[in-house]
């Protein structure tokens, strides 16, 4: 179990991490969702030991690891750009850790060969050992990077936007493979990403990093349907967030979040009884295939989105520039108090 408590990191005037409390349980695929610049890479670099926290503690199974040099921490790090050794072959890259680590290096060539081959077959690259790094594709490099990290059997594997450098098709396939590989290895993965779909698909648990803090850490479905705060809701890219005052006195004070798919639209003044509503101007629609997004501008300028599934259309025909009433079931709204 990897535990971070009250971890802070500042660069001059800017605070990258501000008292992060975070737990990665044993044998878990943990996703860490954060916008670019939210400090996710900093968090990984602190865990791996490339940088040290200004405050706070990092420990694995109760043993403190902050302050230890990175090569003695026994933590795997898969880089976004893979960071393979360009002058070595695939097999030499993969066996690097076994051969040259300061702690218990393996010198038996047969053992190195066997373990290299078995980890290469685990990532689906049997028979690629003799290839040069420049002679394999992006997806294969990703696998070599993963194999190189896994062969040392680290206590936790950190993945820094591991799919960012791959094309969309490959990304979907690597998603499934990463999950399957992790289940076979039974080691915890901490996967950092800026994509909410990737985080929700991959994670057994998803944590949201915002403003230098972990704002929520939950199972993906819980996080998606019950974000605890505005920041978490905003990162999911599925919630309209607006001032309660826009709905009149019905919703009281504070900030309200309603999911894109739980808002209905009707002509002005035709809202069914008992449903809170707000008035907004229809801006434009966007057709995405199976779904269609409609954009509205509320009176205070907030942008609102309504999603419509083609199989079950529920929006009326709308004219750009006209005002409509957007309404939702009272229990569909999540209300947050405090600053948005």
């Amino acid at each position: 179990m990897l535990t971070l408590s009250r971890v802070s990191r500042r660069y001059g005037e800017t605070t990258a991490l501000d008292g992060v409390d975070f737990v990665v349980p044993e044998n878990t695929y943990m996703s860490l969702l954060g916008a670019s610049g939210s400090g996710k890479t900093t968090l990984l670099r602190l865990i791996a030991g490339f940088e040290e926290p200004d405050q706070g503690e990092i420990s694995i199974d109760g043993e403190r690891i902050d302050g230890q040099p990175p090569h003695l921490r026994d933590i795997g790090f898969v880089f976004q750009n893979f960071a393979l050794f360009p002058h070595l072959t695939v097999a030499q890259n993969v066996s690097y850790g076994l051969r040259y680590r300061a702690n218990a290096p393996v010198s038996n060539e047969n053992e190195i060969k066997d373990r290299t081959e078995s980890v290469l077959s685990l990532v689906g690259l049997s028979g690629f050992g003799h290839r040069a790094i420049s002679a394999i594709s992006g997806g294969q490099r990703q696998r070599v990077a993963l194999a190189r990290t896994m062969i040392c059997e680290p206590r936790v594997i950190l993945l820094d936007e591991p799919l960012g450098a791959l094309d969309a098709n490959l990304r979907a396939r690597m998603c499934d493979e990463l999950k399957a590989i992790r289940e076979r290895l039974k080691v915890s993965f901490l996967h950092v990403t800026g994509s909410e779909t990737e985080a929700l698909t991959m994670g057994d648990k998803v944590a949201v990093l915002s403003g230098g803090k972990i704002v929520q850490s939950d199972a993906p479905d819980t996080l998606f349907s019950h974000p605890n705060n505005v920041d978490a809701a905003r990162h999911l890219n599925a919630w309209n967030i607006f001032e309660a005052g826009l709905c009149g006195p019905a919703m009281g004070q504070g900030t309200v979040a309603v999911r894109f798919d739980q808002i209905d639209v009707s002509a002005e003044g035709e809202v069914p009884d008992g449903r809170p509503w707000l008035r907004a101007k229809y801006l434009t629609g966007e057709f995405n295939g199976p779904t269609a997004l409609s954009f509205f501008r509320a009176e205070d300028g907030t942008l609102l989105q309504v999603i419509d599934h083609l199989s079950q259309p529920r929006l009326p025909d709308m004219v750009e520039g006209q005002h409509y009433d957007l309404h939702f079931a009272p229990d569909a709204a999540r209300q947050f108090h405090g600053a948005a």
């Binding site: 090569h71 003695l72 790090f77 880089f79 690097y96 850790g97 040259y100 300061a102 190189r148 040392c152």
Partner: protein
């Protein structure tokens, strides 16, 4: 019957691909011509001339174009000249090793440990500052440093480490080696710094994450990745040191005779054929050294 003609037009027109190819070839020729002209006029032609002249007949005051191998025989049978080859090779090897030993750590610091690009450039420029004075001044400046009354002897005597001035410091092979190392070191630092600067920092972090200590990372990752820089630096230093004569002339007190010094003195006494022999020998040595360097590191992979 009017059928649609399926014949291609018989008029000999060129396809766009052919035209493009022609244009590219013309451009390549245009870019190559000045260099080719220059090299053939001022390098290939004179080289052939040197080889030719080395077989001319040398008399005391003149040289005539009757072919003979006399100059070669005299050169290859004289222990003075053969030992000059030995001295040249020895000085070259020692200076090469010294520039690597002194230059590599400097390059390692500038290229790998200084991550600020501006500071990096400033440090590299600082390495070039000595070149703002003339070559001869830089060489001669070693005399007040190394001489019997020079700075080093005075300091060592004041500190009581030695009682007599050290005489091997100046007008010896040692002073030639020191002078050459100082002058040519920067040609080693530059290429190595460049190669080290190209190493992706995350590659080094990855090696560290895999459990390797800094020493291992240096041996297994940093050194192999910077070797092409060492090779390019070595080629620069080799070419310059092998053809050297000025440092030896002004710092050795005429005790160290390099092939370059022989050429200078033979040309000075109008022994053209003999100077040509030394020139050909020197050219063969330099060619061999460069061929060897290129064999050790495949520069094609680094371009």
């Amino acid at each position: 019957m009017t059928a649609l003609s399926t014949d291609t037009p018989t008029k000999p027109t060129h396809s766009p691909a052919e035209l493009r190819e022609k244009q590219d070839r013309r451009r390549a020729m245009g870019l190559l011509t000045p260099g080719l002209l220059w090299m053939s006029l001022f390098m290939v032609l004179p080289m052939c001339m040197v080889v030719y002249v080395s077989f001319w007949t040398q008399t005391t005051f003149a040289v005539e174009s009757t072919l003979t191998t006399a100059s070669w025989e005299r050169f290859l049978s004289s222990s003075t000249y053969l030992s000059a080859i030995g001295t040249t090779l020895r000085v070259w090897a020692i200076v090469l090793v010294a520039t690597v030993v002194v230059g590599y750590p400097v390059a390692l610091f500038i290229g790998l440990f200084v991550r600020n690009k501006t500071f990096q450039t400033a440090l590299l420029v600082a390495c070039v500052i000595p070149f703002w004075t003339s070559f001869l001044i830089r060489v001669i400046a070693w005399r007040p440093m190394l001489g019997t009354e020079g700075a080093i002897n005075v300091i060592l005597m004041k500190l009581g480490i030695i009682s007599e001035p050290l005489t091997f410091l100046l007008f010896s092979e040692f002073s030639v080696l020191v002078g050459m190392t100082q002058i040519y070191c920067v040609f080693m630092v530059g290429p190595i710094t460049f190669m080290l600067g190209r190493i992706d920092p995350s590659v080094i972090e990855a090696a560290r994450d895999l459990g390797a200590s800094f020493g291992t990372i240096f041996r297994r990752i940093i050194l192999p990745l910077s070797l092409p820089g060492v090779m390019v630096g070595s080629i620069f230093v080799s070419v310059m040191v092998l053809g050297e004569f000025a440092t030896a002339a002004s710092l050795s007190g005429r005790k160290v005779n390099l092939l370059g010094n022989i050429i200078v003195s033979q040309v000075g006494s109008l022994k053209w054929a003999f100077a040509a022999v030394a020139g050909v020998v020197l050219t063969i040595i330099i060619t061999a050294v460069i061929a060897l360097a290129l064999r050790i590191v495949d520069l094609r992979k680094e371009m």
